[in-house]
């Protein structure tokens, strides 16, 4: 029997991603549940996503489009939710293999001091995610993760805004990048202090068992 809270959370956030116009046509999102994951079907339309568009897959039996999600969940116990999306400002940067630096405080806090582009295979993506929760994937959008789906979703929004700022600032003048030490300090404070209570509340609300 499916966990109704997790199903409802995935449907809610797929709709939010569609409303915020930060997804393309191949987007998928997933949440961990014990030794399995709940994941949206490959090619499902996020704007009209319904409960039956969500599959439950055992992490050690995942194949095809689901394999990347399972590999990341297996490699990173701290990750509870993943978004693989194609936001407008991210997709072209992923094509050219860019590294997005922290040009805004909210990126430093929620995403980290940089967001790099990984080769498009599980092993490379897991390596690029080391010490981070997000990366661009060469010619394949971005992968963001979080303790909760809300955190992974917020990462998509913040990363897309940072990409927009990074490109626009370079064209109209200059990029002023936040000092690496200060960026890491902000990330630490966000993870252990600012967001902790909210994430704990969200875990329960999103159906973590």
């Amino acid at each position: 029997m499916k966990n109704e809270k997790i199903v409802a959370t995935l449907v809610e956030y797929a709709h939010k991603l569609a409303e915020e116009k930060v997804c393309g046509i191949k987007d998928m999102i997933a949440m961990r549940s014990g030794s399995a994951m709940y994941v949206t079907k490959a090619g499902a339309d996020f704007a009209s996503l319904v409960d039956s568009d969500i599959d439950v897959v055992e992490l050690d039996k995942a194949e095809g489009e689901y394999k990347l999600f399972a590999d990341v969940f297996n490699a990173r116990e701290d990750i509870g939710a993943i978004c693989h999306c194609y936001p407008a400002w991210i997709a072209p940067l992923a094509k050219v293999g860019a590294t997005i630096p922290a040009v805004l405080d909210d990126m430093a806090q929620i995403v980290g001091s940089t967001c790099k582009t990984s080769k498009n295979d599980s092993a490379s993506i897991i390596k690029t995610l080391k010490g981070r929760n997000s990366c661009l994937i060469k010619e394949d959008g971005c992968l963001t993760s979080g303790r909760t789906m809300d955190e992974a979703y917020t990462c998509v929004l913040v990363l897309d805004k940072a990409a927009h700022c990074y490109v626009s600032s370079a064209v109209i003048g200059k990029n002023v990048i936040i000092n690496g030490l200060e960026a890491r300090l902000m990330r630490f404070v966000y993870k252990v202090k600012y967001s902790k209570k909210n994430q704990e509340n969200l875990k329960s609300a999103e159906g973590e068992v």
Binding site: W89, P92, D106, A170, V171, N175, I178
Partner: protein, 218 residues
């Protein structure tokens, strides 16, 4: 307390509505913004820290002492940026409502640390001149507060370096008019500068990105 219960209830609803309206007008992402409204000379209501604007209730808004923002009562834990809201209200008695947020086009100028020139008569009327960029400081620090207060001198809005925008009005309606004109003026400036850099006559996101790749891409 120098305010009556009826005023407090009305202003609690004003704060609640301000958060929802920031979301509706796409002027904030998630919980990443905060607003304040003055109750009297030394007290203000602010939004709580890190909580969803839709779920927040009017009674969740804490009362914060303007002269010492570490003191607060009622409601939930106030935003860590309350010191900036308090410093502006302390320095500017005519200001009764403040908004701090991170809308996209304001964030671009904040990240590039570019002073926004007056782009229209409306911007001149509402902001009071160009929008300066306050000195960079980590969130919640004295440096950030000092930089914001200095950049707001004689103005009703400023950018906070690599962070966002701060707006102040005689009431929340005016503070919203100011943040709207800041976002529109920032967009107009970016469009103007992009066309100038590219030598093109029609602006689009594709134009901006293609120029970026041709200049900085691998």
């Amino acid at each position: 307390m120098a305010w009556d219960k009826e005023t407090e209830l009305r202003l609690r609803q004003v704060i609640k509505d301000s958060g929802v309206n920031l979301l509706k007008e796409n002027l904030v992402q998630g919980t990443w913004g905060n607003t304040a409204v003055r109750l009297d000379e030394d007290h203000m209501l602010v939004t709580p820290t890190g909580l969803d604007y839709i779920a927040l209730q009017p009674e969740d808004m804490p009362v914060v002492q303007i002269s010492d923002p570490s003191i607060w009562s009622d409601g939930k834990k106030p935003t860590s940026e309350r010191k900036i809201h308090a410093a502006i209200m302390m320095a500017r008695p005519e200001i009764n409502a403040t908004i701090h947020s991170h809308p996209v086009y304001c964030s671009i100028l904040a990240s590039a640390r570019i002073e926004l020139p007056v782009m229209s008569d409306e911007m001149q009327r509402l902001v009071g001149g160009s929008a300066r960029v306050g000195a960079y400081g980590l969130p919640g620090t004295k440096t950030l507060k000092k930089g914001t207060v200095e950049a707001m001198t004689g103005r009703n809005a400023c950018f906070m370096a690599n962070h966002g925008v701060f707006c102040a009005g005689k009431d929340m309606d005016e503070a919203f008019e100011i943040i709207r004109i800041m976002e529109k003026s920032s967009y107009d400036y970016i469009k103007e500068q992009t066309l100038k850099a590219t030598g093109q006559s029609t602006y689009s996101d594709e134009l901006l990105f293609d120029y970026f790749v041709s200049k900085y891409g691998k």
